[in-house]
Subunit: 766 residues, 2 copies
């Protein structure tokens, strides 16, 4: 008879109850006291046997308190082992955790390096090939040459195929360029669509939701890891307007997830798993930007899971460092540098008048950021309700063809975005050559026009690309847009200075315009910070990432100012960056960490009043009632009351697995037995089936007069799943995390526009 209870956390106790056949026996044999004794070992905080726990289904939200409790319980069991085992097991346990942390760090570092190599080779392939080996990229092919020597081993396709005519050469080159772009992009899309549909997009919104407690295991599967990595390399190499940063965070989390599955303590504890994932995410950023500190701060600010948990932050710190060390050790480009876009030869000081163009860039970033977000949201919503929704691969082919065609025409766009950004950040140095003619002072207006065009094209392409069926990050395109605009403003300022070197605004500069006074390369950095600030609304982590990316530490103040201004301006057009927009559109149960301010409302305004709740009344329920209830109202659980007095909370899964074996007997016997949830069974209820062992005590109770602000705050900071409101013990209402999320997202116009089901987050209410 007890065949179906094996998934249940309280199996042992339940088995005892069942073998004793409590409800039939209790009528005559077992006095209330003994029943009390039978169940008194069980408690909410100890009733979870970690080896066999109810598994959360994808789409649900974990109960942090329960998971933490289970972990506490497990730790205690380890420590209480007799003798040497009690000493060694906890050490082994901690070592396991650090093993996973180190392995994840090393894995992410190597994956990042491997990805760089792959991307470099694939994108070089669009131009030509190495004569002595197909698998060498241009740099590797031409290595070992003396300075000044010309590399003859690397051949463009027209050289390789011996095309002589100029027209034929350029036609062939552009054809191969575009054909390979489309081929790379479409194979990425096919891979994603066929093997791992969750490997598309950046992954950061999902990671944020998962770290907040959302259960989405298929998002982190081994297949997703593989396809996201491979697809990312193909997508980046195709020259589409996307970056590798966000997806690398996803890849890092997949790694940690799959590693952690090998160990029982993480496989069975969703909270512990999430703490590992947070560390892995930091390592992802660390490798993506070569910014170990930025990774930790990104986790702190943007992912916002370990806000107060020093332990997790600490783990992220270690993972981040190890990942960066691994990346530097593998050293994919032989430079031994973590700094990706080294800003060279910027002057150590900056002049007061430069604040004006920088503030202007801040404002521009603050305006264009929300424009990019709104465009992207509009495209995403349009895509959902039109043709591309059914033919995602065709969309990718089309967009990559258009991107390749446009990119081939605009000189700044033809190179990889990362190369473009690196060039825009460089100061002009006669000894190092001219980047795309940027350093030609007579071509200023031409350059400014081209740069503005590049930014405009990039905004449109990025708004469309971010959300297609390929892995795609938003960071690099945003940096490229901002850097183009920044460089343009820098060139204009420089031009102005060259035209009027003695004007009073330039009095801080030397009057001789041939002396360098304005560094347009640094204006590009400022532009990039402003644009990133507008799109992501990050603050501190952004500043740290930016100067770890560029090495421009002496200019930290201007970077901070531009991020500050662009966030201010951006927030005027609507709070929240692009990730929040996607979370709201996908309706993930993620609580924004923004400080919510009510206008004097109390919890009574948001809570579900007791009349709307599906309750179990302990004083008058039968087994049949419970069966009907738990079949009809498939909520996560139900509050239990006794004459209005709140007793506790029963999880639906637990309830089902407890009552299901009894139901068959019930139908045979004909009458439905009474059930009770009170422990102190009074004499006239001694014949009732005592279900109190499966009931959880409700630990946090509030009065409904509490300000909304405080309730939202509790959900944000304490990771509770639901809060009950009582008045002198009487249940007056209830509020779940899902309700709070919905409530906070209500203002966003496209909330839930992309949710896969109308109710992705389960609610407790009819």
């Amino acid at each position: 008879m007890a065949t179906d209870v094996s998934h249940n956390g309280i199996e042992t106790q339940q088995d005892r109850l069942l073998s004793d056949n409590p409800w039939f026996k209790a009528e005559h044999d077992i006095p209330a006291e003994e029943m009390l004794e039978l169940t008194s070992e069980i408690d909410h905080w100890t009733d979870i046997d970690h080896t066999k726990r109810t598994k959360y289904e994808d789409g649900s939200t974990i109960d942090w308190l329960r998971e933490e409790g289970a972990e506490r319980e497990r730790q205690q069991r380890l420590r209480s082992q007799p003798g040497l085992r009690g000493l060694l097991l906890p050490i082994l346990d901690t070592s396991t955790m650090w093993l996973i942390v180190v392995a994840t760090g090393v894995g992410v570092g190597i994956a990042g390096a491997w990805l760089d190599v792959l991307v470099k080779w694939l994108s070089d392939l669009r131009e030509g090939r190495c004569s002595y080996g197909f698998f060498y990229n241009q740099v590797a092919c031409c290595s070992g040459l003396d300075p000044g020597e010309i590399c003859t081993e690397w051949r463009t396709w027209s050289q390789w195929l011996n095309v002589q005519s100029i027209l034929g050469q350029s036609l062939l080159q552009s054809f191969v360029y575009m054909a390979l772009a489309v081929a790379f992009a479409s194979s990425a899309a096919v891979l994603v669509q066929t093997y791992a549909p969750y490997a598309f997009h950046t992954g950061i919104p999902e990671i944020k939701a998962i770290l907040g407690g959302y259960v989405f295991d298929s998002f982190l599967s081994g297949w997703t890891l593989l396809i996201k990595g491979l697809g990312l390399a193909l997508a980046v190499a195709s020259g589409l307007s996307l970056g590798k940063e966000g997806p690398l965070v996803h890849v890092a989390c997949c790694m940690a997830f799959n590693l952690s599955r090998c160990f029982k303590e993480f496989r069975h504890n969703e909270a512990q798993k999430r703490k590992l994932l947070a560390a892995a995410a930091a390592a992802g950023v660390s490798v993506a930007f070569g910014s170990p500190l930025g990774g930790v701060l990104f986790g702190l600010e943007e992912l916002d899971t370990f806000s107060n948990e020093t332990e997790v932050m600490w783990r992220a710190f270690v993972t981040s460092v190890i990942a960066a060390v691994s990346l530097q050790y593998v050293d994919p480009f032989g430079t031994s540098k973590l700094v990706l876009f080294q800003v060279t030869s910027i002057s150590d000081t900056w002049r007061g008048f430069e604040l004006a163009p920088w503030l202007f860039l801040g404002v521009v970033g603050g305006i264009l950021g929300p424009v990019l977000i709104k465009l992207n949201v509009a495209v995403a919503v349009y895509r959902r309700h039109s043709m591309p929704n059914d033919w995602p691969v065709l969309e990718v082919i089309g967009v990559s063809a258009i991107t390749a065609a446009i990119s081939y025409l605009v000189v700044f766009l033809r190179v990889q975005s990362s190369e473009l950004v690196a060039n825009l950040f460089q100061e002009c140095d006669p000894s190092k050559g001219d980047y795309h003619g940027l350093c030609n002072p007579t071509a200023m207006w031409h350059n400014v026009f081209l740069l503005t065009l590049t930014a405009a094209v990039k905004i449109i392409l990025t708004a469309w690309t971010f959300g297609m069926m390929i892995p795609a990050g938003i960071f690099l395109p945003t940096i490229a847009i901002g850097a183009s605009l920044g460089r343009a403003v820098g060139l204009l300022t420089q031009g102005l200075y060259r035209a009027y070197p003695t004007a009073w605004v330039f009095s801080a500069c030397p009057p001789d315009p041939s002396v360098r006074c304005i560094s347009p390369g640094f204006y590009a950095v400022i532009g990039a910070s402003a644009m990133l600030g507008g799109v992501t609304r990050m603050t501190i982590s952004l500043v740290v990432i930016l100067f770890e990316l560029t090495g421009a530490l002496s200019h930290v103040l201007p970077i901070m100012i531009s991020v500050m201004v662009s966030k201010w301006v951006g927030d005027a057009f609507g709070k929240g960056g692009i990730y929040s927009a996607w979370i709201a559109m996908k309706r993930y149960p993620w609580l924004p960490s923004v400080e919510y301010r009510d206008k004097g409302e109390t919890a009574a305004h948001v809570m579900r009043p007791v009349e709307e709740l599906v309750l179990i009344d302990s004083s008058q329920c039968t087994l049949h009632d419970l069966d009907v209830l738990s079949t009809d109202d498939r909520f996560y659980g139900y509050p239990v009351v006794n004459a209005g007095q709140l007793l506790g909370y029963v999880n639906r899964d637990k309830l089902r697995s407890s009552i299901e074996p009894l139901l068959s007997e019930e139908s045979s016997s004909g009458t439905s037995p009474r059930c009770t949830f009170t422990r102190n069974v009074s004499s006239n209820e001694a014949d009732a089936l005592n279900l109190s062992p499966i009931m959880e005590k409700v630990v946090v109770q509030l009065r409904k007069e509490v300000p909304q602000e405080l309730v939202v705050n509790m959900f944000q900071k304490l990771n509770v799943r639901h809060i009950m409101f009582t008045q002198a013990g009487q249940l007056t209402g209830m509020l779940t995390k899902a309700d709070v999320v919905e409530f906070l997202n209500a203002e966003f116009p496209y909330a839930a526009a992309l949710a896969s089901t109308p109710r992705m987050v389960e609610s407790f209410f009819r």
Copy 2:
């Protein structure tokens, strides 16, 4: 009769009750319904009239929820003003806040710059004076010279006084050096002792406590500001082993506090005031280290007040930037640089074998950090119970004389600590001269010995100095200790390399030892990070401060590794940095943010059970009872129950001011009237004095089965002042923040060793 209620927040209502003479009239005239109506406007969240609020006394802890509620209420009142006022007043309100933020930033920046100038002048005065003006420091005096020209305007004292004999010169110089050191230190001590006793020490432990809710207004007074600033300059100039960083944070907070007092909204709201102080503290660090980002992160990690409040972090960000910009604008040393200890010419790459000495430095820092903390704690406890406690100025004179004597003998100690650190961080560069002979390769052992001696002397001097009756920071001495040790290890490594350039460990270096491979200056940076990590146990903010301080961005990985290792090693000798130790010794009600892990205990183990509580029983109390209770048991407030059922909580101040005017009448009438706290006054209680308006509803109630961990977590994250435990509405116990603090500090051996009273934190229990 109503003369004594003016301090009371509910004056208006109370006045109405009084003018109606409720308890005499109620017997016959006022029906229960009307009384209900009279009081129904009052609610816990709205009963605070912000213009007249109960002032917290120094030594108490603020009620965050109450303060936040008052602020919410005030905001609403502003917005609900009719017409244009409702639009303009909130804008004016926000502007006020930003005005204070900007003014604080500018003020801190200027104060920092002014302090630098003063210190430079005073400490130069110990060597000599400028011939054409007493108030010029050496640099200002010798400015305007061509390179190579010798400065003749700056004269040492022996030159000035025309002392000819060598012996006379050195005797005079050393005498002036020591005499001025003692004079500076003792005047600082006299100033502090006479005018502002709270201006001694670093101030960070107190700031941490204040930001956490401790009320300590005299700590932030205008006098303290003045004396701390002036005393700090004198103390630093005296050459004692102390730094200006911590005290600058204190100065910044004093500024913000005194600025905020000019505005009603901050004067009357302790929570709002604290949010401003957090921003000011960040600005203090920003100016002290020239590290705007480090300031924000210091606030985030060490002060830990705005962990989740983006609004406050944002404000800190702005204040920090403005302070740094002001400092850079004033530019006290004409370098236009924020980076204080620029690390020059370190090679861009580092070699794998260098990890070994760096790890060693990490371990050393992790051991010496706790040693310094333990020494310092021992000295502080000894000082408390011996002579220096009564003669603090004499102690300062003695220590400064000893410090000056030793410093004059050891070459590295004779200069200011900041100069020493700057020199230790420098690489040897033949064109720039030799710092104290550090670059002489033949004097390696001599240098190593001197550096180790310097570190040892500094540890002892710092352990004694930090806690004397003068303003003193711990950062700079710690950096100096670490830098000395780091440089010593660097010199040893370099010596080893020079001796065996072809050994396999050095295979990554060029075999020619004349080529630079090892940079001892960077070893000093690593040593400083490790030592700081061991003493403060900060992580991320420390790394950011360190590379903002040195500009060594390319070496962020080794810095992170050394901080990591030293924290790991340090934590093995006891959790918590030096600030936590002082907080525990002084018994401030500050909750460490460390994640507390219980061993399966529940809240029942720490809470005070209901039997030990001083309760008000609404069903059977008289005015006389309340009088006796609130006179005998001077707690912050009392839980109110009705037959065991929890009704609410009454603040003692409110209770006193409500009942005091009635007591005189009571004594004249002879009988003591009944009091009730229930609103729905039943018919047989209609003659009772209804005190329910002054009762607060208890919003957060827990079951006592909650794990300890969760309760501690709630206190840490939700800023609650106390938590009530109930079971079906029945009060079972109570826990206050003070109890939790005491509980968490219980392990620390010297807890409360320096508390000014045996019970600095008030408790709720007998």
